[in-house]
């Protein structure tokens, strides 16, 4: 059986590794010095969960699998569009990291514009209208209607001299 190109096996291996990592950190949970004779400590449930998960992941790993076509990873991901997906993930990470600096309006506007472009939208006018309209309407609704605070960003404060 091909263990590398098998959805079930790779998935259970990931879960097995996670539960081993989890098990390792259970011993870092500090216990009350008087907790020795307690029957339920903060470690009890995590320990039980880790053990059960390890057993289940092992069973799944060792169980005879389905036909290779059904569980083939390479078959399942054939034709997937990795480039735009990875670009969008990167864009979301940049958005989350630059949000405090750029502020809601600028960061969101740029996020939408670049997002549209990644997915192949080439009509700049339409992109500008949709991104601008959405950002401004969201900003209006959230700050004016729901009275929520949205960060204007360090950049704005630097420019306006409020920093």
């Amino acid at each position: 059986m091909n263990y590398i190109d098998n959805k079930d096996k790779v998935g259970s291996l990931l879960l097995l590794l996670f539960s081993l990592f989890y098990l390792n950190y259970i011993f870092d949970i500090t216990l009350d010095p008087n907790a020795g004779d307690q029957f339920f400590t903060p470690r009890t449930l995590p320990m039980g969960l880790a053990c059960v998960t390890i057993v289940c992941a092992f069973v799944q790993l060792l169980m005879p699998g389905k036909s290779s076509e059904d569980v083939s990873i390479s078959g399942a991901v054939a034709g997937y569009r990795w480039k735009p997906t990875l670009a969008l993930i990167l864009l979301m990470l940049v958005y989350s990291l630059s949000f405090s600096f750029l502020g809601f309006v600028v960061a969101t506007f740029l996020f939408l514009m670049i997002g549209f472009s990644i997915l192949g939208e080439r009509r700049i006018g339409l992109s500008l209208t949709v991104a601008g309209g959405l950002v401004l309407s969201m900003w209006g609704v959230l700050t004016q209607l729901f009275d929520l605070y949205l960060d204007t960003g360090t950049l704005y404060r630097l420019i306006m001299g409020d920093a």
Partner: protein
């Protein structure tokens, strides 16, 4: 009960709550129509908006969104053969062939009427069953609740399909493990690695948005659906949908189907883990089996019965899934799991006490479900041709907007940008598990039930002086444990039996 119904009516019929149902139904229909975004994502997107609301209004909005999303899912299933929700897959079997024959209007009307009737019968059954079950469950103790939580965790795994049981169990366990991150009830930090943002644990909203809304949107891009032209949708929404009227003969023909499918759907929906998808497939299968040979021939080619059965059943099941949530505080599906999380964030503890402590929430939710059905029928049906235009919005514009709404939804609750980064990371992990065919609904259910499961286990062990004997000495606990064991062993048993049968067949063939 009458007093409660009147209380529910007075709460649900306030102008603000009527507006909530209306907005919820519309928003739900729009979101539900988008392939890839179902009721779970729709409700998850609504949570940040409802944080400032009072619990009754928040739940009413979410109930409206739920029904709207289920209805919206059926609309895209019929019009473009792209069910927005898994519960609408069976609807597409006969709904889309009807639309292709130029009877899209008739198909949508049949779907709307049967959804309404399924929801109505479901709401009546809910009205009858919930108070009784809530009273019975008042006698439940921590030990029983622990057993019930365990049952909730295993039931969703048992219904997860052939070959998926162990994977669903593993995902439930992962959810339970994630629930232990943060400070426990005794104040001890667990798995926080000194990161202050983890002291309160992983936010349920963050997890649900990342695993459903964000992951779904990323999968749409990954699979290449975002740039695909949608000729079917354009054809069907731009051209005339045909008449929305039904003939008397048609109504007479499908009336018994509605009755049967409503009952089946409701009781399947009550079972934790079963839900609308299983109900719709069971109803479709049942109708196909009891149909005459001539009628059976029509199934899959545009049969009215084949459309009505799953549509009625999925709506009745959606209503039924509120029974375990409202009476026992156990979500039966990913959607009700999100609702449970929302209720907890409002400071409302679902379960038997909800009926006593927050009767206005309890009854308003039940009444608003019915109201949601009426609004869907009265307002959405005539607006279908216009709502269907949404399917023409290019996906390359829609996907980044969905991603943005998911991210900002989480940010608006915590106002912490670290949550955004964490959400992206969890979203990517969710995509990996989706590619590997590991179900995410059990993860969410495990996460939601984790805290309650630990609390009840701790209390039960405290009461029983550290002994596990409560599992077999308390009759209610023992009964639930037996049901849990049967539920988890049943798929295993049938798998062994199938293998045995296959082996015998092979021996005889040789």
């Amino acid at each position: 009960m009458l007093e409660g119904i009147l209380m529910g009516l007075s709460t649900a019929f306030t102008p603000i709550n009527l507006l909530m149902v209306l907005v919820g139904c519309f928003a739900g229909t729009f979101i539900g129509m988008l392939p890839g975004l179902g009721p779970v994502s729709a409700i998850a997107l609504m949570i940040p908006i409802t944080y400032g609301f009072d619990p009754a209004s928040g739940m009413i909005l979410m109930a409206g969104v739920y029904y709207g999303a289920v209805f919206g899912g059926s609309t895209s299933a019929i019009l473009i053969n792209a069910p927005g929700v898994s519960g609408a897959v069976a609807t597409a079997f006969d709904g889309h062939p009807m639309a292709k024959k130029g009877q899209a209007g008739r198909a949508l009307a049949l779907a709307a009427y049967s959804s309404f009737l399924g929801g109505t019968i479901g709401a009546i059954l809910l009205l009858l069953f919930v108070p009784i079950l809530a009273k019975v469950s008042l006698s439940f103790q921590s030990a029983d609740y622990f057993a019930l939580m365990l049952f909730g965790c295993t039931a969703i795994s048992a219904f997860s399909g052939k070959g998926q049981v162990l994977k669903a169990v593993l995902m439930t366990l992962l959810g339970l493990m994630l629930a232990t991150v943060g400070q426990d009830t005794s104040g001890v930090q667990r798995f926080t690695f000194g990161v202050p943002d983890l002291y309160d644990g992983i936010s349920f909203l963050l997890l649900s948005m990342a695993t459903f809304a964000l992951a779904e949107a990323l999968l749409v891009v990954l699979r290449g659906d975002s740039s695909k032209a949608q000729p079917d949708s354009e054809d069907l929404s731009r051209n005339a949908l045909g008449s929305l009227k039904l003939s008397k003969e048609e109504i007479k023909d499908v009336a018994p189907v509605v009755g049967r499918s409503s009952l089946l759907g409701f009781f399947v929906g009550v079972l934790p883990g079963a839900g609308a998808t299983i109900a719709s497939f069971l109803a479709y299968g049942m109708e196909r089996n009891i149909a005459s040979p001539e009628q059976r021939e029509q199934f899959g080619k545009g049969s009215a019965r084949g459309l009505v059965a799953p549509e009625t059943a999925n709506n009745a099941a959606s209503t039924g899934s509120f029974v375990p949530l409202l009476t026992l505080g156990i979500p039966g599906s990913a959607t009700t799991a999100i609702m449970l999380g929302a209720l907890l964030s409002y400071g409302v503890q679902p379960g038997p006490r909800l009926y006593i402590d927050n009767p206005e929430v309890f009854w308003a939710v039940i009444i608003s479900m019915y109201l949601g059905n009426i609004i869907l029928l009265v307002l959405n049906l005539p607006l279908i041709p216009y709502i269907a235009k949404l399917l023409d919005v290019p996906r390359q514009l829609l996907t980044p907007i969905i991603l943005f709404l998911s991210l900002i939804g989480v940010y608006l609750v915590s106002f912490n940008t670290v949550d955004l980064t964490m959400m992206v990371v969890i979203g990517v992990i969710a995509v990996i598990f989706r590619i590997l065919d590991f179900p995410l609904a059990p993860l969410l259910l495990g996460f939601i039930l984790g805290g309650m499961l630990e609390d009840n286990l701790r209390r039960a062990l405290l009461i029983w002086d550290g002994s596990w004997a409560f599992l077999w000495q308390r009759p209610i606990t023992a009964t639930i444990m037996v049901i849990t064991l049967v539920t988890i062993l049943m798929p295993l048993w049938s798998a062994i039996r199938d293998k045995h049968k296959k082996a015998i067949t092979e021996v005889f063939a040789e």
